[in-house]
């Protein structure tokens, strides 16, 4: 049930909104621009704007307001350059006792994967990574981006097909 008594103008509420959404918004922009410092800067700016307009933005709308601001800020400020995302953690979940050969293959694969992700369209990339890394459901992503669930599904599908065709590993 929407809580009409919560105002973003209250520091407690503002902080709660920040803690709930700031990381995902940072990553949302990061998936687009590939620069984590810039992504953090734009995410902070979105929250500053939310604060400035807190009286006009109901609590329930704060999330979509933030995504819209972040998206606009990205479109306005970030040149559409090639995006290479630097992923922090290597893949340790697949196997725990790897042979040197496996580790080498895995590194090679990761390099290819990074390039393949970079070659996705911006729209495919943001949807794909929001789903896989941020664990956002299609419906949530559709709301964030203001598109249909069907459009999200198409982008997800397209991203997977594109990744598979880009990675040489799969062409053996």
């Amino acid at each position: 049930m929407p809580d009409h008594t919560k105002s973003v103008c209250e520091q407690r509420v503002f902080e709660e909104v920040f803690n709930t959404h700031s990381k995902t918004i940072r990553n949302f922009i990061y998936y687009k621009c590939g620069d984590s410092a810039q992504a953090e800067d734009l995410a902070q700016d979105a929250f500053v704007k939310l604060w400035n307009n807190c009286a006009k933005v109901p609590f329930e709308k704060a999330k979509s307001y933030l995504y819209t601001l972040a998206n606009n800020a990205f479109l306005n400020e970030v040149a559409h350059k090639k995006v290479i995302l630097k992923h922090q953690k290597s893949v340790t979940s697949i196997a725990t006792h790897e042979s040197p050969e496996f580790i080498y293959r895995e590194k090679e694969f990761k390099g290819e994967l990074d390039r393949a992700i970079a070659n996705l369209t911006e729209k495919q990339r943001e949807v794909f990574l929001l789903n896989r890394i941020e664990s956002k459901k299609y419906k949530e992503i559709a709301e964030m981006l203001d598109i249909s669930v069907k459009a999200v599904e198409k982008r997800m599908h397209g991203a997977l097909v594109s990744l598979r065709s880009e990675i040489k590993h799969f062409k053996k």
Partner: protein, 304 residues
Amino acid sequence: MKHQNDDTYLAKWLAGEMPENELQDFKKSNAYADYKFLIDVVDGLETPDYNQQENYTATLDKIAKQQEKPVTKVRTLIPNWAYAAAASVVLFLGYTFFFQETTYNAELAEQTNFELPDGSEVLLNAGSEIAFNTFNWENNRTLDLTGEAYFKVKKGSKFTVITKEGSVAVLGTQFTVNSRNDFYNVTCFEGKVKVTSGKLNHILTPGNAISIQDHIATPYTTIETVPSWTAQESSFNNVAISQVVTELERQYSITISGKENLQDAYFSGRFSHTNLQQALITIFDTMEIPYTFDANSNVSIQKY
């Protein structure tokens, strides 16, 4: 496979929404192994570390910073938790607030109209200037005037207009003050106006005016309900001809030569702000002052 033409089936598979029979088929295909491996790797990826506390602090800093900038419009949304940051800028803000003088002026041949912080209206006549301090305006309605202005004052605290020649104090009213060199004229249209000039104190009621020239106060009455100059005219009641000529220069933004030829005389009447030739006839012809006027709007007063 029937899903081959479907451009969302991989999305359905990832979401666990693929129908069981299709899933069985899909699992048998070569593509399935590739996609499964791909997703396993992707799901192990992480984005760069994110320090939430640091980012929150940075956001608060940005909010506090934008309040440091000199504020021209009143910000009502000052986060109470930003007071710690705001306190360090109080001196700076205080300085600009206390000493911030707002100035309005009307260039030659134009009139400027504006509202004071309390909603009182001011119309400035050509070549005039008003300066006031917006800080604490509601309690200290005092402004400095050079030239001529028409005031519609909202009810409230004492409203004072200070000029070189004296001051005018009122409570909610409409009046004009004209303070040019050696000439001081106040006309009351509504309410009550107290005029102070040197030792002289005079209270004006609607329809009454006072002009002070050479330290001699001359009260007179007017039937005007608004100053004539707000309607593209200047009107005069027994005003030195030199003042009238100066007003003519202001309203048309021209320079009239040969003013030294003017002899002492007093003019009562009005001239238009829209037709210079007509205005010249009105003033000089009626006063029998010889003058020349050429195509380039050069006006010269002859010896007489």
